[in-house]
């Protein structure tokens, strides 16, 4: 059983809250974990003689507040003193920290709380049981007569109290029970409270350490360039001028990249600019966005692999009044605020990595592979993440940095320029959705949905890609919340040439909810019904979603008059085990520009561990989605990504963001996922708001202002 060894060297006291210790100065070293901590009943809980509780975080903190939420769950069942709780990053260790829902040590798919809810509660309760047992034995009383509160075991009968620290020696000898009793939710005193985040104080004063802030002694700085044409190789390099730049130490040339190492990033950047590189463009030199779309559209004519088949869709769609429509989603970059980076030190017998990653075990393996070492020779230090959004579910940056570091004497921090970060992203797939439906008496009688696009899972987790169906690719489509008697959902895999695709906040549901909710609005209009009423009429089997829809309709003022050229749009979704209904209100002008006026959302995410974090995640997710809907698109020309930085890959700014009201519905159900839900819901809600304001049914994202302008004038 791994145990924590190294002493914390930096702590931050918070008033009335736990303590966070994170950063490279408290390294989490796999080999060191064999050393003993007084009480370590499982992979998540450590208690020392002073009663300090250290909780090991199996999921990474990238802004979603998960360190706080996980700590709350553990501390709740442990009955720890919240003021004495510290958290620490987990090391790469799939055996102990694999995400139960994914089978790998990864943070993604908005499932941290869903997946770890039970295991963490058990871990906390098991540790508590050991401590109670230890006290009961010492006091010679039955454990059942003892209770716990805030880091203390209490026996009310004899009035004895023992704090956890004093019990750790004894407790360490006790095997935790396999199935400890869990608290009844009515007894929760931490879960459900809007507790302050543990990781944020250091983020207000520059003390927080992200991967990019790693500064091992003697570190050098590097930046790299990969072939402008995706998949191209280095043909020839002339480094004469680069070497003359003051501060440049080394030029590293690999088959697919060049990097310049210097005393600081500036020297490295200048050196890279002075490097004369001829590239061998390779097979993708002619790939353009048009070709990608053409292939996708062509592929969409094929029947897909069937993910869901209910009723008799063949018969139900054999009519002349079938309504058919297509919807499309572009390639997208992640543009995490913290550009890609990794700091690596490779020696002949070891490698050390400093990085903020969503997949620490994959980073561990990738670096070992790049350095030609055994995994046991590699140490990974986890850092905070300056945004993940799925980009840091890939270990490519660690792999590339390790290959560079292998050529360098001493540690080297490899930082991607924003341009490299955007031009060599692993992109959100392009999707083409074909939908067919038939209305019968104002209700949907039949529905067929064919998703054509890239399968991220087939690359990322091949066993999950079964029988031609990418479960993520049909997520929220095969479990469409609406009551439809004849239903078929198909997946049609078609990879864009030259482009590697990956997870991106919301991935499959993003696409599917956009297509479904857009189509539903068009069907409602055909049926002559109000979009909310039409949805409501089809939600009989999704009562939780109906509640959310009713709430959002009320809170958004649905149906109340609006100024000219304004519209409200609604979307509902069952995604990530949360039920979300969102209304966006916007205004368009004659040039097709869209101004956001207001966003209202209602969510039933089961039991809310930290309600304030849920609201924050929805607000942030909604901005993320609206950004994509208004601006997001990566295009290729001659195999090159044409966007490069925030001037041509635009982000929503504060002045464009309207009030966003989040209504969290009280629920006793198990917690659902939340990080991606806002992103997924915002896009169709905005699209439908534009539809309501102008009558223009946009069918691909990002929005096309010229179409809106034409509609706004007519």
């Amino acid at each position: 059983m791994p145990t924590r060894a190294s002493a914390p060297t930096r702590r931050t006291m918070l008033k009335g809250a736990g303590v966070l210790l994170i950063g490279f100065c408290a390294p989490i070293v796999r080999t060191a974990r064999a050393e003993s901590a007084p009480f370590a009943p499982n992979a998540f809980v450590r208690i020392d003689g002073a009663g300090e509780v250290t909780l090991i975080m199996p999921q990474v903190e990238m802004g979603q507040g998960v360190y706080t939420a996980i700590s709350m769950i553990l501390a709740e069942e442990l009955d720890a003193d919240w003021a004495k709780v510290k958290v620490d990053h987990a090391p790469p260790d799939e055996a102990h920290y694999a995400n139960p829902a994914l089978g790998v040590q990864a943070t993604g798919n908005s499932n941290s709380i869903r997946a770890f809810w039970k295991p963490l509660r058990k871990a906390g309760a098991g540790a508590r049981a050991c401590l109670v047992q230890a006290a009961a034995t010492a006091w010679n009383v039955p454990p059942a007569e003892c209770r716990t509160a805030s880091g203390v075991v209490i026996h009310d009968g004899n009035g004895r109290r023992a704090d956890y620290g004093s019990l750790v020696q004894r407790a360490a000898a006790i095997t935790p029970p396999a199935d400890p009793p869990l608290k009844d939710p009515s007894q929760f005193h931490l879960i459900g409270r809007p507790l302050k985040r543990l990781d944020t104080p250091d983020k207000t004063n520059g003390a927080a350490k992200y991967g990019i802030d790693a500064m091992p002694p003697g570190v050098k700085f590097a930046t790299l360039a990969q072939s402008p044409v995706l998949g191209g190789k280095v043909a020839q390099v002339d480094d004469t001028q680069a070497r003359q730049i003051p501060g440049v130490r080394q030029v590293v040339v690999l088959d697919d990249l060049v990097a310049v190492v210097g005393d600081h990033m500036w020297a490295a950047k200048q050196g890279l600019e002075a490097l004369q590189v001829a590239w061998d463009d390779g097979p993708n030199a002619a790939v353009g966005t048009d070709e990608i779309w053409a292939r996708l559209r062509q592929a969409s004519a094929r029947d897909g692999a069937v993910a869901k088949d209910a009723g008799d869709i063949g018969r139900a769609l054999q009519a002349s009044d079938v309504i058919a429509q297509t919807y499309e989603m572009p390639l997208l970059a992640h543009a995490t605020m913290e550009p890609l980076n990794a700091t690596v030190h490779v020696t002949p017998s070891s490698a050390e990595v400093w990085i903020g990653t969503q997949v620490i075990e994959r980073v561990h393996a990738a670096v070992a592979r790049a350095a030609g070492l055994a995994e046991s020779q590699v140490t990974v230090h986890q850092h905070l993440l300056g945004g993940g959004f799925g980009r840091r579910l890939e270990p490519d940056m660690a792999y590339q940095a390790a290959r560079i570091a292998k050529q360098v004497d001493g540690p080297v921090k490899v930082v991607w320029t924003r341009e490299e970060d955007i031009r060599h992203d692993i992109y959100r797939p392009v999707y083409h959705d074909s939908l067919w439906a038939r209305l019968d008496g104002g209700r949907i009688a039949a529905w067929k949905h064919r998703v054509t696009g890239s399968s991220v899972l087939a690359r990322w987790l091949p066993p999950a890609f079964q029988k031609g169906v990418d479960g993520d690719g049909v997520d929220s489509a095969q479990d469409i919340p609406y009551d439809i008697p004849n239903l078929r959902v198909e997946f049609n895999r078609e990879e864009p040439p030259g482009v590697v695709t990956g997870f991106w906040r919301g991935v499959g549901p993003n696409n599917n909810v956009f297509a479904i909710e857009s189509f539903i609005d068009e069907l409602a209009r055909k049926a002559g019904q109000d979009p909310v009423a039409f949805r409501r009429a089809h939600l009989s089997k999704s009562p939780r979603l109906k509640v959310a829809l009713d709430l959002v309709a009320r809170e958004s003022g649905w149906g109340t008059p609006l100024p000219p050229r304004c519209g409200r749009g609604v979307s509902v979704q069952p995604s990530f085990a949360s039920w979300v209904a969102t209304v966006v209100e916007c205004q368009v002008d004659d040039e097709g520009e869209v101004a956001l006026r207001r966003v209202t959302t209602a969510v039933d995410t089961g039991m809310a561990v930290n309600p304030d974090t849920i609201a924050a995640q929805l607000q942030g997710g909604i901005v993320f989605g609206l950004t994509a809907a208004l601006y997001g698109e990566i295009t290729l020309e001659k195999g090159r990504v044409q966007q490069s930085n925030f001037h041509d890959y635009r982000m929503l700014r504060i002045d464009q963001v309207p009030p966003i009201d989040v209504h969290v519905i009280k629920s006793a159900e198990a917690p659902g996922g939340i990080g991606e839900t806002g992103t997924t819901s915002a896009v169709p809600a905005l699209r439908n708001a534009i539809y309501a304001a102008t009558g223009v049914p946009l069918r691909r994202m990002p929005i096309d202002r010229s179409l809106i302008a034409a509609g706004a004038k007519s």
């Binding site: 944020t200 600081h264 990033m265 500036w266 924003r418 925030f646």
Partner: protein, 151 residues
Amino acid sequence: MITLIVNGQSRAVDVPPDMPLLWVLRDVLGLTGTKFGCGIAQCGACTVHLDGKPVRSCLLRVGALGTRAVTTIEAVGASPNGAKLQQAWLDLEVIQCGYCQSGQLMSATALLDTVPQPSDADIDAAMAGNICRCGTYVRIRQAIKNAAARV
């Protein structure tokens, strides 16, 4: 050798004069609170104060500083508005990943130093240059107002 004043201390650095202040702070002085986001003055992550004015350090050549004093996120809490804003940020749980927040706080502090009771339009004007990819804008706006309301 170039001498600059950072957070009240005089620091001598041996770097080329055209090196942007951002890299001097991060890579030479080890003040990593100031962040790199874009390198082209489009995101605001690298914002510091130059004699109290907000400026993007990613394009500011260190040789052009002259005697102007630099303040970074590590020291902004020493100013009354900086401290008020830091507290307001925590009280309202503004922060998500936090990577942009050094820059947000520097811009917000400069705003309150110029306009103690900012309107929404003032907040737009002062903060639109700071991108937050996590989308914390709604709370940033509210936290600035809360801080301004505190005496």
